[in-house]
Amino acid sequence: MATAVVPATQDYAGGVLAREQMSLWRDGWRRLRRNKLALAAVFYLVFLVATAIVSFFWTPYKPNFIGACETYASPSGAHPFGCDELGRDSLSRLMVGTQVSLAVGLGTALIVLSFGVTLGLVAGYLRGAVDAVISLVINIFYGIPGLLVALILYIRIGAGLFTIIIAISATIWMDMARLVRGQTLSIREREFIEAARASGARAGKILFGHVFPNALGPIIVQATFVIPIAILTAAFLSFLGVGVPPPTADWGGMASEGLQAIRLQPWIALIPSFALSLTLLAFNFFGDGLRDAFDPRQRR
């Protein structure tokens, strides 16, 4: 690893001091750091995750405790973000709301990754009839309105985090599948795949051991764009009242409740909305930064 100083007693081969290996990740991180917006986004996201974790154990007040302060109390020292229509502390609820947002974002990304990547790999690698069927399914899913899926699931399964994640995943996994399919189609033609087949590698090994790592850059980038879409959709569903059931605090629900008093105390709706916007922006900047960082044409 880092060979800053090589003691004279230690022998090393070659004239060049072992230069640090520039792996894909290292290289990507180095270029991500150069992008100031992306870097700021990374810091914000780290802060967000930290907030979510802290809120599990500690919030200034109990987030669902009614009467922590006066109804519609303005921001003050004790309640920096004021209180909502039931006298619950907005800051505490905002903190807990982070959990829902991140859970939805990451949960969706996970499902989209596992489904989209697998289907895309299989379709692109096997081609022919299998590809035709998977592509047809993708196109059918593109034709189904996302809101409809959410409403049907809401009625059939009932409200809850799980319902939301499934509903959102079902409406956005196709982009990932298409991307991976396209990547696979091009990677499978490369000679090292041929070489792997000639050396007797199993199909699963070729797909997940050779094709997948080569498509990882675009996949990660796509996944970071899935997260903000999922968070926004979840907030939107909550806003419509088919999201996370009350009293669980989530940003969409908070904005919806705050709407009743938008003329009197606008911050009740604005604060969660602002947190939402900032989060979306951060994920998008981060995704953009990642895309640039993993784009080989940007390599210097």
């Binding site: 041929e194 050396s199 590698a201």
Partner: protein, 374 residues
């Protein structure tokens, strides 16, 4: 003689494209003995690679083996199912490719890729894999192998990448190593090193080698026996010494003649074979080489010659053979090697091909009319 390790009988492979059936390999038969080094030579697109890909069932759609059998220890690889074929690939018959950079996965460490080749088969015990991977890299003379196993392919030079590929190919101690133009992408000094390495490995491990190349010098340096392919068919086969000293097929003769010679007159032009290999969708009738052959006779236009014994261990598919060409057509002193030039036989409406870098006027000729060398 002992029984061959690999026996190929009447193998034909075609690609079914929208334009028609491309008959890439037709009725190819040959055998490979244990410890033997066999060269397959020919121009680009004459079916060398497709032949060896067919051996391992690696031809992909729209390509398909149409007929024939590939007997490896009396098992027909053509009829084998996917899983059994997979077990033979890399384990019993390994393959290395032309471009060593694109044959290595760019995002995986070299050492890992070598180990993986062993993990695909359980020939090498799991606990020995890492140690053997390192040993192999040393064996193929990668300097500082212990550190190099952790490198990525782009950190390797071209020659080292090919060495790594060879290490990977040898990792399961295969009986046969197929090298598909292993030195084409490398510069000349590195080529020599790789060939020397292959020769040493052949002698040390007894692995049979099938070497595909369009470079006759490479064949001379490494192979004991040579197969010359043209338009998907074997046109000549024999011991390397015989092929070089006394080629019998005009195509082999032309290939050897077009080798640049270090002791040649400097003003002498590089010799080439006029024209291009034929379209394999609609190949010419008769002998596939007749449109380019200076020694063709009328029979060549419509009757396809079969391989016949022309010398000790040597076979050629030609109606004329060079022996006759020397005796009757003055092949030794021939300068004009345009199609039909030596025999003077052209089909009706014959148009000469490009010669001396310009297109010659096309005189309308009667069948069998003598045009002669101008």
């Amino acid at each position: 003689m002992t029984t061959p390790v690999l026996q190929v009988n009447n193998l034909s492979t075609s690609f079914f494209t929208d334009d028609g059936e491309v008959k890439a390999v037709r009725n190819v038969s040959f055998e490979l003995f244990a410890g033997e080094t066999l060269g397959i030579v020919g121009e680009s697109g004459c079916g060398k690679s497709v032949t060896v890909m067919s051996l391992l069932g690696l031809v992909q759609r729209p390509g398909r083996i149409v007929s024939g059998e590939v007997l490896f220890h009396d098992r027909d690889l053509v009829k084998l199912d996917h899983e059994h074929l997979r077990q033979i690939r890399g384990r019993d018959i390994a393959m290395i490719f032309q471009d060593p950079l694109s044959s290595l996965n760019p995002v995986l460490r070299v050492g890992y890729q070598i180990d993986e080749a062993m993990h695909a088969h359980d020939k090498v015990p799991r606990e020995q894999v890492v140690a053997r991977g390192l040993d192999l890299l040393r064996q193929v003379r990668v300097p500082d192998a212990a550190r190099r196993v952790k490198d990525y392919p782009h950190q390797f030079s071209g020659g080292m990448r090919q060495r790594a590929m060879i290490a990977m190919g040898l990792s399961n101690r295969p009986e046969i190593l197929i090298a598909d133009e292993p030195t084409t992408a490398l510069d000349v000094t590195v080529q020599a090193q790789i060939l020397e390495l292959l020769r040493d490995l052949n002698q040390e491990t007894g692995t049979s080698i099938i070497l595909i190349t369009h470079n006759l010098g490479v064949v001379a340096g490494l192979c004991e026996r040579v197969i010359v392919m043209y338009a998907g068919e074997i046109v000549e086969e024999g011991p390397v010494q015989r092929i070089f000293d006394s080629p019998q097929h005009p195509y082999t003769w032309s290939l050897l003649r077009s080798l640049p010679r270090i002791n040649a007159d400097r003003r002498e032009r590089l010799r080439s074979i006029e024209g291009l290999p034929p379209d394999l969708i609609a190949p010419p009738p008769g002998c596939k080489f007749h449109p380019r052959c200076p020694f063709r006779i009328e029979k060549c236009f419509d009757v396809d010659p079969k391989l016949e014994i022309v010398g000790p261990g040597q076979q050629a598919a030609c109606w004329v053979t060079m022996e006759r060409a020397y005796a009757e057509m003055g092949a030794r002193d021939i300068i004009d090697t345009r199609p039909g030039a030596a025999s003077g036989i052209h089909p009706p409406g014959y148009k000469p091909l490009i010669a001396e870098g310009r297109l010659l006027e096309a005189p309308a000729t009667e069948e069998g009319e003598l045009v002669g060398g101008d």
